[in-house]
Amino acid sequence: MANINLASEGGVVNSAPQSDSHEFDASKTRTQGQLVLRRFLRHRLAMVSLGVFVFLVLFAFVGPFIWTYDFEDVSSKSYQPMSGTHPLGTTQVGKDMLALLMRGTGYSLQIALIVAALATAIGVTFGALAGYLRGFVDTALMRLVDLLLIIPQIAVAAIVVKGFSGSWYVVALVLAAFAWMQIARITRGETLSLAQREFIEAARACGASTPRIIFKHLVPNMIGSITVNATLAIAAAVLTEAALSFLGLGVQPPDTSLGVIVLENYGQFMNRPWLFWGPFIVLVSLSLAVNFIGDGLRDAFDPRQTKVRA
């Protein structure tokens, strides 16, 4: 039976993430990263969305340097219609809508990216720790999640923003405090199954420390789902931030965000529809683009879905 053991071990080593396994046939074999990148680049919708996303980033962060009006500039007349000088008109107080949109998109992006980064870092660490160590850590994490689930985010956001000002980073912190749970749950689940695999046992047998096992062995193997969920967390954060700000419970003036802009202008839906549709379209394209990128990444990391089942 010796050869059977050899064979099965060989098979596992072969599929384990040791980078030297492709040495044998370097001309044909691509690394996992190259394969993912290739599949992602082939995903047309995701590529278009990436273009839209890059455009929005440039719009938000480069646009203000080019555009003549500043978002705080109230020198223009109130409620100007769309024109060459004000392509999206002006608001009640005479702010240029295009300049406002640049600033608002910038803040929304800033918040969303920080929320996603924080949520992913916290979620992956907690999830991997809980899934790997099990026992007490796991129970503690689950109870914490239970606890956070019973307090509505919207109420916490409202109270915190009231108590500690509505600066964008306060909003980002509140959003991140609730967004990490989803990622922790997914990471925990994946860790639970990965921890049973031979290469983790091998690492443990070699005396690797817990942080090393988590960050050098577990996390690289979950990079697909982590990336996808981080992307989806960006889209969710864009929408949640906008919703909170729309209720007046998020970003407070003088800071602005897409939600604040909609809040200030949706009353003009009938008479000056561009004041509503402008921020609406930016908001929807932003969240659609990020969601599509997430979808493209998911397909790229997990091609099983598209394979024929026989």
């Binding site: 985010q153 109420a155 009231k162 419970l249 509503f276 969240s287 659609l288 969601n291």
Partner: protein, 332 residues
């Protein structure tokens, strides 16, 4: 099963206690309800001190929490302490708001669930058909759509629809600014008609939002199950296609939806709050926003305690449903 429910209930109690304490600390540290008093003309330090003592604000947080908790459990939910307002009792204010929101949310959620699940199942069964593409892209679009924008759009098209009705010499049917005070009168047909007019727009807005999540989720879980081994076994039995889909696949695809339904509660609540705000319903959303603006700790605590209890209750119901749907859970 009963032992399971009791165990779950027992776990819920400490969670609710810790949760309410966390809320209490949060509310207590977030602001001072008397802060505004200082800026009033003719208010002296002594007045403020007196007010603090009368509200019990001079005591440590733990003591205040204990007092609040014992009062709350014994049914005394306290009084609003917002300045410049008539002192309203917390209990009726919260329950009234809850009733208003509940009427709206329950209908919309049931509709969204039914519609979402049916569309998801149909899209999965007819994968890659035109219906599937339509349903999938609609759901994807709605999923990426800001909730409040959906509500604003629905409301404004409702107003335009009313304008059209009016220009035809008819009454404005759809209510866009809060439910009519009092009930509905008239014949049965009239009541139904008015009732529909009042609820239609906010229900549609709320439903569209939840629908996206349910249909996406149901489609995914249905697809996964349609490709599973036991569905293949069912097909090999020689039973009809519809029996395979409904008795075997659908029955299993319902299990994850039960989880979603319970986890979705927070999202539904914020959806409801936004819809209420846009349509001017005086529900839980309005109550929250007003209590935060006027900084009214007793009202906020009442609000938080009620929602937290409801969420725990819904999670429990979802767990029970889960246990009924999935025999593998029943023993554990």
């Amino acid at each position: 099963m009963i032992r399971y429910i009791i165990r779950r209930l027992l776990i819920s109690v400490p969670i609710l206690l810790i949760g309410s304490f966390a809320c209490y600390v949060l509310v207590a540290t977030a602001g001072n309800p008397l802060a505004e008093m200082r800026f009033r003309p003719g208010v002296t330090e002594a007045d403020i001190k007196a007010a603090e003592i009368s509200l019990g604000l001079d005591k440590p947080v733990v003591v205040r929490y204990w007092n609040w908790l014992t009062d709350f459990v014994s049914g005394d939910w306290g009084q609003s302490i917002a300045l410049g307002q008539a002192k309203t009792a917390v209990y009726p204010a919260v329950t009234d708001a809850l009733w208003t929101t509940g009427r709206l949310v329950i209908g919309a959620e049931l509709l969204a669930l039914t519609l979402g699940v049916s569309v998801g199942v149909l899209a999965a069964v007819r994968q890659y058909s035109i219906f599937d593409y339509l349903a999938t892209s609609t759901a994807f679009l709605m999923f990426s759509m800001p909730i409040f924008c959906v509500a604003v759009i629905v409301k404004n098209y409702g107003i335009q629809f009313n304008n059209v009705l009016e220009s035809m010499g008819l009454d404005r049917w759809l209510t866009t600014a809060g439910p009519r005070p009092g009930g509905f009168s008239g014949s049965f047909g009239e009541v139904v008609f008015k009732y529909t007019g009042t609820f239609l727009l906010p229900t549609v807005a709320l439903m569209l939002i939840s629908f996206a999540a349910y249909s996406r989720f149901e489609r995914a879980s249905m697809l996964e199950i349609l490709h599973s081994d036991f569905v293949r076994t069912a097909r090999a039995k020689g039973i009809s296609q519809s029996r395979v889909i409904f008795r075997h696949a659908f029955r299993n695809a319902l299990i994850p939806v039960a989880t979603l339904f319970s986890l979705n509660f927070g999202a539904v609540l914020s959806g409801a709050i936004i819809t209420e705000t846009v349509f001017g319903w005086a529900g839980m959303g309005t109550l929250l926003v007003n209590s935060v603006r006027q900084f009214d700790p007793p009202m906020l605590m009442g609000w938080l305690a009620v929602t937290a209890t409801l969420i725990v209750l819904f999670n429990l119901i979802a767990d029970v449903v889960y246990g009924i749907l999935d025999p593998r859970i029943r023993l554990g």
